[in-house]
């Protein structure tokens, strides 16, 4: 076996794969979120449609999206392999298990499964429909013309979907799952990469928790706002997120101080 394969199939190497793919997927979340926020613009969906059309046709974005799917699959496969190995490492379990770690850190698999189920629903709802729609058939997604350009009116598909309360509820619940997944995963990524230093740990912690809470909160807000017909609610969203960011920041720094005091 050559050294690359050997390294990547060691326990540490597999952790490295989890961390690096996780880092990429976290980055993807940010890009995806920024694009999606245009759904809340009060322009009948024009900004969002132009953005979606660009994302669907730009060759660079298309390449990155293939990478994205590959990393999602790699993240899942590696986690399954790791979980199986880790279960084998303790063949007999304890009769009385005291648990001395955070719930989310012990249940990343359950949280990941929630996200996976969400992904299947989410992708078949929007991405799949858009990909299967051809100009001639026009069966799934209607078309719209802005000036010269004709494109799929994905905004309509989204807006109609988010009139269903159960779908909105599914999105909110999934985003809560994502928040817990990130609350362990994001900070954990730094530890795996060996970035644990008393000078920077506070920054990692603050960024980690802010990311884990604010990103899913903004994602969840989109279907909720659209369900309540609060288009043009971007301002309210940002105000709410600002307050939430302050609360999270205060809680994390308070917890950090207490930890140092011990």
């Amino acid at each position: 076996m050559n050294w690359v394969v050997k390294t990547l199939t060691s326990t540490l190497g597999r952790k490295l794969i989890m961390a690096l793919t996780g880092a990429f997927l976290s980055l993807f979340l940010v890009v995806h979120l920024i694009g999606n926020l245009q759904l809340l613009k009060d322009d009948g969906g024009m900004a969002f449609n132009i953005y979606a059309d660009f994302m669907g046709h730009n060759p660079l974005i298309q390449t990155v999206s293939i990478l994205n799917f590959t990393f999602i699959i790699l993240h899942i496969i590696t986690s399954v392999i790791l979980t199986r190995l880790n279960n084998k490492a303790r063949p007999v379990s304890y009769a009385y298990d005291g648990k001395s770690s955070a719930w989310s850190s012990r249940n990343m698999g359950i949280l990941g499964t929630v996200i996976l189920i969400f992904l299947v629903v989410h992708l078949s709802n929007f991405w799949g429909k858009s990909k299967l729609t051809t100009f001639e058939a026009g069966s799934y997604v209607p078309y719209v013309t802005y000036g010269e350009a004709t494109m799929q009116n994905l905004y309509d598909v989204v807006a109609i979907s988010f009139q269903e309360w159960w779908l909105v509820a599914l999105y909110v619940v999934s985003m809560i799952g994502l928040a817990f997944h990130l609350s362990h995963g994001f900070i954990s990524m730094f530890q795996t990469l060996g970035l644990n230093h008393s000078k920077y740990n506070f920054v990692i912690k603050i960024v980690g928790y802010e990311f884990a809470i604010l990103v899913p909160a903004m994602f969840a807000a989109i279907p909720v706002f659209m369900f309540l017909n609060l288009q043009g609610g971007l301002l309210y969203l940002f105000a709410g997120i600002g307050v939430l960011a302050l609360v999270v920041g205060a809680m994390v720094s308070n917890g950090h101080k207490q930890q140092l005091a011990v």
Partner: protein, 248 residues
Amino acid sequence: MNLTLKIWRQKNNKEKGKMVTYKVQDISDDMSFLEMMDVLNEELLKKGEEPVAFDHDCREGICGMCSMYINGHPHGPERTTTCQLHMRSFKDGDTITIEPWRAKGFPVVKDLVVDRSAFDRIIQAGGFVSVNTGVSVDANEIPIAKDVASEAMDAATCIGCGACVAACKNASAMLFVSAKISHLGLLPQGKTEKNRRVQRMIAQMDAEEFGACTNTGACAAECPKSISLVNIARMNREYFAAKVASEA
């Protein structure tokens, strides 16, 4: 005080074990946990029953031999070794569940005794400094900065008891291995072999079938010597750097 004990009994590695319930009476607050076990064993002997086998040696918290999983925590509710745990941490009428360390890498020998020679094999793989010991050098001849020395000493307080493995949901040995790698690799005498050491010790750790770390932090929370997760991060760094850049 009077206590109910639920203890894992297992004749040997081949046979299946089970939890057995015992009662002990008139236990004093000042007894150590192991003294309480001694009281139980004396009573069992009087009754002609097999005493409970458990590991212990120094009973001073320095050798790392004692190893009981008490009420869901390695070494019980306090952050210390089982031998340094006192009965004042319990109250009259308590039920205490006592199990051996549970890990593929630590097979049960008998009752609460597990075979921890996997740790010895990990040390043999690279947890040493190979020097030709000629004439001993003068003290302080090799300058070592105080903060580096302190960090190495902190890591060196690991007594190799295996509580980290016992606490980890993945039965991972990374806190132990990283403590050894840090304590040797931080000091100038150990630095020269650090690339080889980290690769060999981790290869051995994997071969012993300990699990992979998922950064839950249970190990550091339970370690009787407060070994920190910083060591695991350092081990990760050294491992990846050694794999990517070193000749060895």
